[in-house]
């Protein structure tokens, strides 16, 4: 275990975070699972998040039945091939304890961090993927991958604080270059010679940082913490460069995809968003299979989703506010159209992991995907019953295919469950009314 | 020092920082010009409509499978004709071996190319012609029945949507030829080439329009343009871009008159209308005798037809080279096409032989609006700029 994550974890404890984290023993955890690489090393467990904006239409989204083998109403009919992998969590709420309920913001912040935000422009604490990545993300070339179907550099839910944000990849071509460009080393290649270019980068980086000791003294106390974050990032980068100088562990399922050289057009048309999302998802699956990262975050849309539909003058977000409720249907049909498209992309995302064989199972079997939205009924910015899903069994730690009724409990129960399944030693999670010690036993093995 | 050397590369290229100054200077000069132009524009209440051509297809009836207009089927290919002409493998190989061609073209009595000397080759397979009777266009010969006159040869007329008898013999030649039909090779060529090749940039300026629906007299300029077409977000081309007239090709700047009837613009007949075009990859010049445009004006542009007689030798030269190069891919057999043109020729009868030397042609054409800019004369620039679209009206 590298010193970086040890230090990070210790710092996390000193900051008095609600999550108490001890050094993870990933190897032990996995050995119990029995899946192993040819070398005997266990196959890694991965973590992903998937976000979509503007919730769902409960009448055509929420299954009538609770428990295993739930029914698939119209809005999630696209899940028919992945249902057995997906847990759906309904009837879980966000309570802001008097903090302003910021539209399209408070809901997802609470789900992703365990705390309601103080205002609409700050993050109260780190996002859940960062907490998980601190535990499982240090052994790969990329600590985590952030992807966005929106094309916007600002579409990310991965952050350590308001000003410490992990930017997303928004272009499939750039994503390809990042992962499978010249610096990629095929983990299954019989030959391995350390790249002198990487060696040079590592030694130059270390030497340059060494030179900056004088500079550190010029930094006022208010900025010390920020600079420490920078040095942490540098050490992580050094660690990753060092990793690239060692023969990578074989990744049996790794296949290098064909290069993508055609830039995708900019735009937020639903078809375009779906195809950008799907292409990036497929590439991300390869990156995971090739063990380039173990944490991945996908933003299908933003909270105030501006996804558009050809020939419709308004975007999804505006439609949720301005479309009349169809009196026969009892909901807004155009608005629902967009939610249904979101769920189709979710099905693609989960399906791509499920279809990808690795060892005796699929990538999804050794992953846990946590999906959530910013609200339930967009029209009313409702924080009651925010839809959440998990997919995959996290290497056997989660049961799947279950519809769980949260009985108006806090949304953080799902977050806590996810953390525990990912091996984070968290007894409780969340702040104020969102604090919970109750993981969802119904889905944990 | 690095920061000094870096400002100028060895080539002396510097960043375009002087650009803004130049613009500001130009702006200062431009201010006076604009004021004058606004005045000139202010006097004229009449509107100018500018159009740039965006599409070009043979006019006629084209159903999806062609069964209704081509009951005899679509054209046989060059290969089929070649193999029908030289029935055995030995004969075929001998021709190819002798003339070193793999393209079956050298099949005249003395090895003439069927493309360059189509009059020497007669395809054994029949060339199907359409039976359709509907087509847009103009009545070019002035007859209702297509009977022979002093100047024209006997032919069948088509009927347009208004019930008028019109001439479009070139459709008889090409209507059942796959390549000329929608999505065919030649049709595809020109669809792509109109935006891609500047030679196809054709502008129409309709001046002195008092009423866009009905105006019994408008002045018309047709000219070659210099600026690109840009694809828009709806599978069309951006309307309203500026298009400069190619002042250097003065002989292609042509003037005529016309009128607008119920929103349909028509030019008067032009004795000879000239336009460059690629059409089929190779660039050439088209000439239309007794040419007329008829275009329905839309908010965004115009659609309609261009009609006129084409001289057979010039018409053939325009098509021949490309047909030669692309005969296999396009499945056209040149002699079939050529003889069909001669057979269907209907205008400009040679009094000595009685053979018509030109064929009536109608092309379906599309346009989008453009702001047409003249750069040689300040008055025309004034006309263009002083339109001042965007003004408070």
């Amino acid at each position: 275990m590298s010193t970086i994550s040890r230090r990070r974890i210790l710092r996390g404890m000193m900051d008095g975070a609600a999550v108490s984290v001890t050094l993870p023993f990933l190897e032990c955890f996995l050995n119990g699972n029995g899946d192993a690489r040819a070398s005997g090393a266990p196959l890694p467990v991965r973590f992903g998040t998937w976000f979509w904006g503007l919730g769902m239409v409960s009448q055509i989204f929420t299954p009538k039945t609770v428990g295993p083998n739930y029914d698939l109403p119209e809005q999630i009919s696209s899940w028919k091939d992945i249902k057995q992998h997906v847990n759906l969590y309904s009837n879980l709420n966000v309570v802001t304890d008097g903090r302003p309920p910021v539209c399209h913001y408070s809901g997802w912040i609470a789900v992703a961090t365990g705390e309601a935000p103080l205002n609409g422009s700050s993050y109260p604490r780190e996002s859940i993927d960062v907490t998980v990545a601190d535990v499982i993300g240090s052994g790969t070339r990329f600590r985590s991958l952030q992807l966005a179907g929106t094309g916007s550099q600002r579409s990310t839910h991965s952050f350590r604080s308001t000003d410490a944000v992990n930017p997303p990849e928004v272009s499939p071509t750039d994503l390809y270059q990042k992962i499978f460009g010249p610096e990629f080393h095929d983990p299954n290649s019989p030959n391995f010679t350390p790249d002198p270019g990487i060696k040079m980068r590592k030694s130059v980086l270390s030497a340059v940082i060494e030179q900056s000791t004088d500079f550190r003294r010029t930094v006022g106390s208010a900025d010390k913490q920020r600079l420490e974050e920078y040095f942490t990032s540098v050490r992580e980068m050094e660690g990753r460069l060092a990793l690239q100088l060692e023969r990578p562990a074989p990744a049996p399922a790794c296949k290098i995809p064909a290069a993508i050289d055609k830039e995708m057009p900019v735009g937020i048309d639903a078809e375009l968003v779906a195809s950008r999302h799907n292409i990036m998802t497929d590439m991300m699956v390869m990156a995971v299979a090739c063990d380039q990262t173990r944490v991945f975050n996908m933003m299908y849309s933003d909270g105030t989703a501006v996804t558009s539909r050809k020939g419709f003058p308004r975007v999804h977000h505006t439609i949720t506010h301005e479309e009349p409720v169809d009196t026969k249907l009892g909901y807004q049909p155009d608005s629902a159209w967009f939610c249904t498209r979101s769920m189709e992309s979710f099905a693609h995302f989960v399906g791509a992991l499920a279809k990808f064989k690795e060892g005796d199972g699929s990538l999804l079997d050794r992953s846990l995907v946590f999906a959530y939205s910013d609200l339930s009924l967009a029209q009313a910015h409702s924080l009651i019953g925010i839809p959440m899903m998990t997919a995959g069994s996290a290497g056997g730690r989660m049961k799947t295919g279950i519809h769980f009724d949260g009985k108006a409990g806090p949304v953080t129960r799902v977050g806590l469950t996810v953390l525990q399944a990912m091996g984070v030693q968290a007894g409780e999670w969340g702040v104020n009314s969102l604090k919970t010690g109750q993981a969802i036993g119904e889905v944990l093995v | 020092m690095i920061n000094v050397t870096a400002r100028t590369s060895p080539r002396g290229a510097t960043e375009d920082r002087g650009g803004i100054s130049r613009f500001v200077k130009a702006l200062r000069i431009g201010v006076c010009a604009a004021a004058v132009l606004a005045f000139v524009g202010g006097r004229a209440h009449a509107e100018t409509i500018g159009l740039v051509m965006t599409s070009w297809h043979v006019e006629g009836v084209f159903t999806k499978d062609g069964k209704s207009e081509c009951p005899d089927g679509l054209n046989p290919t060059l290969e089929e004709n070649f193999k029908a002409q030289f029935k055995t493998k030995e004969e075929q190989d001998a021709i190819i071996k002798k003339y070193g061609s793999t393209q079956w073209h050298y099949r005249g009595p003395n090895g003439e190319s069927d493309n360059n000397s189509p009059e020497t080759v007669f395809d054994p397979l029949p060339h199907p012609e359409p039976h359709a009777t509907a087509s847009d266009g103009f009545n070019l010969d002035g007859t209702q029945d297509g009977r022979a006159t002093d100047k024209t040869c006997k032919h069948d007329k088509f009927v347009n949507a208004s019930g008028e008898a019109v001439d479009n013999q070139f459709y008889r030649v090409t209507g059942c030829v796959k390549s000329f039909r929608p999505q065919g090779t030649f049709d595809g060529f020109i669809t792509n080439e109109i935006p891609a090749l500047m030679v196809n940039r054709w502008l129409i300026e309709i001046k002195g329009v008092d009423d866009r629906m009905n105006d019994d007299h408008v002045d018309v300029m047709i000219a070659h343009g210099l600026d690109e077409l840009v694809a828009d977000g709806n599978n069309g081309f951006v309307a309203g871009r500026s298009q400069r007239v190619d002042e250097g090709s003065a002989s292609f700047i042509q003037h005529t008159t016309g009128r607008i009837v119920n929103g349909v613009f028509m030019t008067d007949s032009m004795p000879e209308f000239r336009m460059t075009g690629s059409g089929l990859v190779e660039v050439g010049e088209r000439r239309f005798k007794d040419a007329r445009f008829k275009l329905k004006l839309t908010p965004n542009g115009a659609t309609g037809v261009l009609a006129g007689y084409g001289d057979i030798p010039r018409l053939w030269r325009f098509y021949a080279k490309t047909i030669g190069l692309h005969a296999i891919a396009s499945t056209v057999s040149p002699p079939s096409l050529y003889h069909s043109i001669v057979r269907n020729a209907d205008g400009y009868k040679d009094p000595a032989t009685g053979q018509c030397t030109a064929i009536s042609q109608v092309y379906a054409v599309g346009f989008v609006n453009a702001n047409i800019v003249r750069q040689s004369s300040s008055t025309d620039v004034a006309a263009a700029i002083s339109k001042g679209a965007g003004a408070v009206r």
Binding site: G151, V165, V204, S221, M237, S308, Q379 | L27, V238, I385
Partner: protein, 557 residues
Amino acid sequence: MNMKAKLFWASAGLLGLFAASVTAIAEQKSELKPAAVLSRARLITQPQYVNTLRGIFGPNVKYPVVLAPMHRVGGLVDVGASAAVVTGGALERFDSAGRTVAKEVLDPSHRDYIMPCRPASEKLPDDACARKFLAPVGRLLFRRALSEKELKAYTEIAHAAIIEVGDFYTGLGGTLSGMLVAPEFLYVTPTTEVVRGENRLTARSRAIRLSMLLWNAYPDSELLTAAENGSLNTDKGLAKQVDRMLASPRLADGVRNFFDDMLVFESFDTLTKDGKIYPAFTTQVTTDAREQTLRTIVAHLVELNGDYRDLFTTRKTFLTNDLAAIYGVAINDPDRWAPYEFPTDSARGGLLTQVSFLALYSHPGRSSPTRRGRAIREIFLCQKVPDPPPNVDFSALERPDPTLKTARDRLNRHSQNPVCAGCHKITDPIGLALENFDGAGAYRTDESGAVIDASGALNDASFKNVKGLEEALHNNPRTPTCLAERMTSYALNRPIEAADQDLLNYVNTKFAANGYRVKELLRVIATDKTFYAVPADNDKPTINKADAETVTLGRKS
């Protein structure tokens, strides 16, 4: 004006207060107390990164740099830079940018004129040559001369790198890219010194603050020299540098960046329109619309030294053929950016009627008076318009009604709901004056067959059409004071605080006295003592060794 609205104005705008205080302190020399808060360490922004490296390596090198976006603070992303943190993801972006640029710089097509020397062998280290490159580059990247010890260290790093890869230029490029992720390059930390009992910014920090304000880049060699020899600490020396920098073409970079930031133009990165509804609004139009506004601003403020307020009425601009198609006008030179002046009777005048503003604050398929009105208040008048309340169900107000043809009709219906009315009164009367422009920014006279009524109001000024709005914004006292406030915040690289009021009053007075010339506003800020002052209760001042050396040098000379 109802009570609620009054409260809003009192808190958001301080309308009228400025006018009074401006008169009272006119022509007063700034002897204000130091700014209350010293700016914090600021992380280099993407434009600063590009401007700085272009200043060092020249315009022919490509800088395809995409850095992690920062958080907007007090209306400016640039101010967010003083809170930005380099996460692992952000460092990856810096690393990738640094390697790309270093590779470009030492590419055969550039290195011959960038490098001050040729190595004896391209395969082997040449310490003397590496040093000749690293010394001046290091000085410009780190904004100070490298000490002999540091220079030796960097030369050794390059030496080892060259041996590692067996190529002089690759190894030297590797060293350069290492320097481009060094904290000294990425972060600017203000350093202070005590001179004759007075706490002040060091000359080096002065130089940096100055060049960030005027050029949006790190200092060039001449400015650093002025800091090193101490002349920047004198009024005369400072004035000389400010004159030079204001006259430099690089001023355009600074002004461009400030307005790109203030106008929230990063939104253009993701702006698209519905192709079916606005087919002419192509990707090129989004690029050109942003550029048009920046060109207009630079030409007006920098080249013509025009009155800032005239930016809201000027008919002079620049167009490309793609933009001209949206504007519905002909241009004489469709191949390039060409100056264009709208006729006097045109509805177009000023930034509000440019496609950039009109299209950015619209929906993909229709205009939005509310978004436009809100943007005018927030961007140009520095007022905060509240977000819509969370629990309003708008849909009940939007039942299809064929009698509601125009945006005004629809919004009138909306305003019948008292919960909505409060905020919509703040935004809509402004935005409705722009209704003669559709969601793509094209001119129109009617919507769904109904003639558009483009009358509106901004506070007490009411008008019949967009011309009136242009005039009202031009004449609004808050328009120039908002700009001055943003510029001051930009200069200090921190949000404006209550304690800055005296400083703002002073800046506003000077701005007004100079006919609202932005160049003069910059000069006032850049030559004012307060701009370089350090609060008494500053975070323990620290002088780094290099600074101490330069100060000593300055005194000797």
